[in-house]
């Protein structure tokens, strides 16, 4: 029984200390503009993001491909954006590891207000895996 409980507990959070560490997030095309070259601030604020912070995957436990593969909707045209711990800290945001049972890479980015966090993330994230071309391209 004790063994079963231990199996169901999420992994322990680890400290993020390296400025070069990267964080990935899945972004659907409706939250991009200028033919997918730019990311809209709306990309960083789903239902799940509100309370705790904006979800990202830490590159210690993920890759852009794995983050893309975690999507529940592979039919949606989407890419993966990335930013670094250094950029997050330099812009007065914080990031902490918040592992989940099914995603050890899960991390949360927070800031002083929701618009401040979203606007900043839109400006410091770049494509790790750009949007695939449109079906009719």
């Amino acid at each position: 029984m004790a063994g079963k409980i231990a199996e169901e507990s999420p992994p322990q959070p680890e400290e993020i200390t390296d400025r070069e560490d990267l964080f990935y997030r899945w972004v659907p095309h409706d939250f991009t503009k200028r033919d997918g070259r730019r990311i809209r601030a709306g990309a960083f604020g789903t239902e799940a993001d509100v309370e705790e912070g904006v979800s990202f995957d830490w590159n210690r436990y993920s890759t852009p491909e794995r983050t893309l593969g975690r999507s529940q909707r592979p039919d949606i045209r989407a890419g993966v954006v990335m930013t670094s711990a250094g950029k997050i800290w330099d812009n007065e945001l914080t990031v902490r590891h918040a592992p989940e049972l099914n995603n050890q890479a899960h991390s949360l980015v927070k800031g002083t207000s929701e618009t401040r966090v979203r606007k900043t993330l839109a400006s410091i994230c770049s494509w790790a895996l750009p949007l695939p071309p449109k079906a009719n391209d």
Partner: protein, 204 residues
């Protein structure tokens, strides 16, 4: 009386000397007069106070003149400017085509009501900017925001500003802005009113 003599005379004579230098400063002095007078901090301070008082008064008069001119000959809104604003608003209507869970992350669709509120907010600020500054404000982008809300985003080489129009009409809009990456600007505002602070911030 010269500056060197000032060092040895009594209080009355000092005050008299200061008065003399003030008088010197008030007429049209030569370079030598100025150099001598600038050695006295009191004279310099007097000049600065008078300078700032004069600038303040000049500014006050200019504002009065501008207000009077605006009343006498109000600046006409150009058709082209208005058309650019309305065209941007019309294009943003495409947001309403997004269905529930369009992003695969559970986002809800955007209602006509929240889009109308966003459009009205932009028109209000545009009108206020024109009224105060006599020219159109930089146009924002109206974008899909999180959880059925709409983002209004201004971006120029000098500043960016994000205003979020919430899906709940009872809630205030939250905003965050940066000017040249240095001056930060955060808070909430009532979307049903023109916001003088916001349009002043957007002014070129």
């Amino acid at each position: 009386m010269t500056v060197s003599k000032l060092e040895t005379v009594d209080q009355d004579e000092q005050e008299s000397a200061i008065g003399e230098k003030r008088f010197l400063a008030e007429r049209h002095p030569t370079i030598e007069d100025l150099v001598e007078a600038l050695a006295d901090k009191q004279v310099v301070a007097t000049w600065l106070v008078r300078f700032y008082t004069a600038i303040h008064e000049l500014n006050r008069r200019l504002l009065r003149q501008e207000a009077m001119l605006r009343r006498v000959s109000p600046v006409r809104i150009q058709e082209d400017d208005l058309e650019q604003l309305e065209s941007m608003i019309r294009e943003s209507r495409s947001i309403l085509q997004l269905k529930d869970d369009f992003d695969g992350m559970g986002s809800t669709h955007y209602t006509e009501e929240v889009w109308q509120r966003a459009a009205r907010f932009v028109r209000l600020q545009w009108g206020e900017h024109f009224r105060v500054f006599g020219e159109p404000m930089p146009l924002p982008e109206i974008e899909p925001g999180p959880r059925g809300s709409i983002d209004i985003y201004w971006e120029t080489p000098d500043f960016d500003l994000l205003v979020n129009i919430p899906s709940d009409p009872q809630k205030e809009a939250e905003f965050s802005g940066d000017r040249n990456g240095k001056r930060k600007f955060d808070g909430t505002l009532d979307t049903s009113l023109p916001n003088r602070g916001l349009v002043s911030w957007l002014a070129r």
